[in-house]
């Protein structure tokens, strides 16, 4: 498990231990990765983050069109593995969690401990101002630095 922010580590470790999730990705609503567990290639993380952020944006717009509030979570059930995508509020802005899990656990368990992790993240987040928005000219440098921190290379 790798995280860009140290205060994310404990809540995420607890979630991973309790939920038995295979892969987990925490990212901002713009798709910037905050923490990951289980991914071995940076390309997979970048792709999953981009697709996850896009899906959440689409479903939130769909909810708005239907006159509903935001959807809590989106779950794709598969025979061998399933995927849950959920957006949540943190003191650092809106984040997205992408969790892949197998038949060794259940969507109920994953949702239960995911909600607990969200509460723990809210309590653990530092109260100082979040970093300034990333500028386009710094994007590649920031992205490379983030991937290096997450994969150690």
């Amino acid at each position: 498990m790798k995280a860009l922010e140290p205060w994310v580590v404990q809540p995420l470790e607890t979630f991973l231990a309790e939920s038995a999730a295979r892969l987990t990705l925490l990212m901002t609503s713009s798709g910037q990765v905050v923490a990951q567990h289980g991914f071995s290639r940076s390309l997979d993380v970048m792709t999953a983050a981009a697709l996850g952020a896009g899906i959440v944006a689409s479903t939130e717009e769909l909810a708005r069109l239907m006159g509903a509030t935001r959807f809590e979570a989106l779950v794709h059930n598969g025979l061998r593995q399933s995927c849950m995508l959920a957006a949540f509020a943190t003191p650092r802005g809106r984040w997205i969690g992408l969790v892949v899990f197998g038949p060794e656990t259940s969507v109920g368990i994953v949702r239960l401990f995911f909600n607990q992790m969200v509460q723990q993240l809210g309590a653990a987040a530092p109260r100082e101002q979040p970093p300034a928005p990333m500028l386009a000219e710094n994007f590649e440098t920031e992205l490379n630095a983030s991937l290096k921190a997450l994969f150690g290379r």
Partner: protein, 115 residues
């Protein structure tokens, strides 16, 4: 009234029962619930669904049939679970003074009518 709500009514009428749920065992999600304030239905469904699933797999590994009834006891009460058809589980959250014998009879009969 549906079979699910009839089952919940029968179980929650037993003295000492603090709430009852019908849970989809494979998903650990609540299908229907009748709970007193302070009982977390989502947590009860997820954890009981997981427990029942693991017990069923354990029994199968030992060459036995899945358990029909599970009683998890603690100092301050307990959890009862009766397996029904279609991977549904009837769950009761009980206090320490609950009539467990009556709850068990009601749950086994009600669970067989689920689905």
């Amino acid at each position: 009234m549906t079979a699910t709500h009839t089952a919940l009514d029968r179980v929650t009428r037993v003295p000492g029962v603090r709430g009852a749920l019908v849970v989809a065992a494979a998903d650990g999600l609540v299908v229907a619930e009748q709970l007193m304030d302070g009982v977390d239905g989502q947590a009860a469904a997820a954890l009981t669904g997981s427990l029942v699933g693991r017990l069923a797999r354990t029994a199968e590994s030992a060459g036995m049939r899945p358990p029909a009834f599970v009683h998890l006891r603690s100092d301050s009460g307990g959890i009862l679970a009766a397996l029904g058809p279609d991977e549904l589980v009837l769950v009761a959250v009980i206090g320490p003074d609950a009539n467990v014998g009556l709850a068990r009879l009601e749950m086994l009969d009600a669970a067989s009518r689920l689905g």
